[in-house]
């Protein structure tokens, strides 16, 4: 390996890092002027450069024994993460959320880019060490983003809670990794898979995988590791919450699928009804079932729309984990596809929620009353996002959910009753429940009269543009899902 080769393979990460350092420098030099258009321009330019480096960079490569992996799949997901972060960055600016934290715009943006850097590292590695370091980098930046832009007391409390939950999860992840390393003698996922296939499983390995699942469960906000999510989503500034709900979750599902299927495919076990076998599949099935039930039922009772979105996100984690239990190529494709469209839809939903929050000072259901008349564009995008999350055709959410459940049913021996039918039946039931609370929001938006003293919802043009782009992506992918599915399929062929 030489350094030039190394640099060419991590060029997107370098672009993001350098941009973050430049932004910190700007914050240093700018003092109270640090903020506004210049910061946005630098951020967007850096993200654009990174995107170009992903698109025109090397097609494949595996350096330093799997520490840095470039293939079609990682390139696709790096591009998705960069696009989602660009969307979040446009929400950060200006006039909008920056209102409560004058002079911190540059640092805020730098933190966003550092979080993105962590996620890029996580996506582009098959090594447990880099995986851990990337996850921690992303988490630390996110804790600070939640507390940094805090105008009043509440977000700091949410950040403290997020921090403690996250640190405990990281410790579990690490303890699990140490057992995995002890049982297999390696921290490279591919070597681990080979060792597992060749030797009988040591008893500390299941323990390690179980402990690591706790850490991953926190990252994707699966029940019972979800307790941080509602507070953080509700109290954090809307762009930070949008990033946690979109880019961070996409990377979370990517890495859960990759680690479990690629590294520990041998010790999957089975969660089929009547054919139960110990492994990680039953554990994931339990997480999925709990997340679906708790997330969707708790969302019914919420008055704050951002809290509702948080619980619906927990429910969606359950839906996605349902397909992961099947653990074949089709399931991984469905998981990755759905996590991407979930990310796009949540970014749009949080964007509109943040816009309402700024205009009316709160985000209770009543505050959305009459939005359809005062801000038709925002209301339309919100409707698209929520209906896609609910899974109504012709939006892409329907297609994604269909794929998830079909993949879950495809597991097990052919010709018999699918073993995961119990989980899919639960998922369908919970989807129906979720439709109710999404429609509750939309009823307020379109059919409730606007309060007489309602302040007009004004938003930055950048924010509106992001919302519109997200909305049109949801419609477009619903009509032509193959736009993302085909590259995903091609990328997965290389992996399996």
């Amino acid at each position: 390996m030489n350094y030039l080769e190394l640099i060419s393979h991590v060029l997107p990460e370098i672009a993001v890092l350098v941009t973050a350092l430049v932004l910190i420098g700007m914050g240093c030099a700018g003092g109270s002027r640090g903020g506004g258009k210049a910061v946005l321009a630098v951020t967007a330019a850096g993200l654009g450069l990174a995107l170009a480096a992903v698109v025109f960079g090397p097609e494949s490569g595996r350096l330093l024994e799997g520490m840095i992996v470039v293939d079609a799949l990682t390139r696709l997901f790096k591009a998705v993460l960069l696009a989602l972060t660009l969307g979040t960055a446009l929400f950060l600016f200006p006039g909008g959320e920056a209102g409560g934290n004058e002079g911190r715009g540059a640092e805020n943006s730098a933190l966003l880019l550092l979080a993105l850097l962590g996620l890029l590292v996580v996506v582009g590695t098959e090594n447990l060490l880099l995986l851990f370091v990337g996850l921690e980098l992303a988490s630390l930046a996110l804790y600070l983003m939640v507390v940094f832009a805090a105008p009043a007391g509440r977000p700091a409390e949410a950040a403290l809670r997020y921090f403690f939950f996250g640190s405990v999860a990281a410790a579990f992840l690490l303890f699990g990794f140490s057992f995995i390393y002890g049982a297999t003698g390696s921290i490279d996922l591919r070597v681990i898979a080979k060792v597992l296939a060749a030797h009988p499983v040591e008893p500390i390995l299941p323990l390690g995988v179980g402990l690591a699942l706790v850490g991953f469960g926190f990252k994707v906000a699966a029940v019972p590791f979800h307790l941080w999510a509602p507070d953080v989503y509700q109290s954090a500034p809307a762009p930070a919450a949008g990033f946690i709900a979109s880019a961070s979750k996409v990377a979370g599902f990517f890495i859960v699928a990759k680690v479990l299927v690629l590294g520990f495919g041998v010790v999957e076990g089975s969660a089929d009804w009547g054919a139960f076998a110990m492994g990680w599949a039953p554990l994931v099935a339990v997480l999925a079932a709990l997340s679906m039930v708790v997330g969707n039922l708790a969302a019914l009772a919420q008055q704050s729309v951002r809290r509702l979105l948080a619980y619906s996100g927990i429910g969606h984690s359950g839906f996605i984990l349902t397909a992961l239990v099947a653990a074949n190529a089709e399931a991984v494709r469905a998981v990755l596809f759905y996590s991407v469209i979930y990310g796009v839809a949540s970014l749009a939903a949080f964007g509109v929620a943040g816009c309402v929050l700024r205009a009316r000072g709160a985000d209770r259901l009543e505050d959305f009353a009459g939005l359809g008349r005062t801000a038709p564009a925002a209301a339309g995008v919100l409707a698209l996002a929520l209906l896609s999350l609910a899974g109504l055709p012709p939006l892409v959410g329907f297609f994604g959910k269909f794929q998830l459940f079909a993949a879950a049913l495809s597991g097990g021996t052919p010709g018999t009753v699918p073993g995961l039918l119990w989980l899919v039946a639960l998922a369908l039931l919970m989807s129906a429940v979720s439709l109710y609370y999404y429609l509750r929001v939309l009823k307020q938006v379109f059919f409730a009269p606007a309060p007489a003293d309602a302040a007009p919802t004004r938003d930055t043009s950048a924010g509106t543009a992001v919302c519109l782009v997200c909305g049109s992506v949801l419609v477009l992918l619903g009509l032509f899902p193959s736009l993302v599915l085909q590259p995903l399929q091609r990328a997965l062929v290389q992996l399996f």
């Binding site: 910190i24 499983v201 008893p203 010790v267």
Partner: protein, 125 residues
């Protein structure tokens, strides 16, 4: 898949012991509190030193939270130096690239120092 069920039993027993080792002292201290040292509040019990000088002034002393800021900054620069140890150990055998990487790392630390300085966190207010 399980190579030896006996090994799982050992693990289970061990974790039982570990949980007990964490919980039993806490439980014992609560029992101790209830049985042997019931609360008997009184003015002499509540004084800071039960014998010796009478305490004056409030117990909560004001001290600046900026001490913590210094502490945090010191902690970061102190511990991140750990990455310089492997470089120092293998310094004479290093290729040019590795030295450059080390230089980049030190520059990163320098930028954070410059940021702290420019933001005025190093000034005592």
């Amino acid at each position: 898949m399980p190579s030896d069920p006996q090994a799982y039993l050992t693990l289970g027993i061990f974790f039982g012991i570990a949980v007990a080792a964490a919980l039993v002292p806490i439980g014992l201290s609560h029992l101790w509190l209830r049985w042997f040292t019931p609360a008997k509040p009184g003015p002499s019990k509540h004084s800071a030193y039960e014998c010796g000088i009478e305490a004056t002034g409030p117990a909560r002393i004001q001290f600046k939270s900026q001490y913590y800021v210094y502490g945090i900054v010191f902690l970061i620069f102190d511990v991140e130096a750990i990455f310089l140890i492997p470089i120092a150990v293998a310094f004479l055998d290093l290729p040019l690239g590795a030295v450059l990487v080390a230089a980049v790392f030190v520059l990163l630390l320098l930028e954070s120092l410059a940021w702290c300085w420019a933001k005025g966190y190093l000034n005592w207010k």
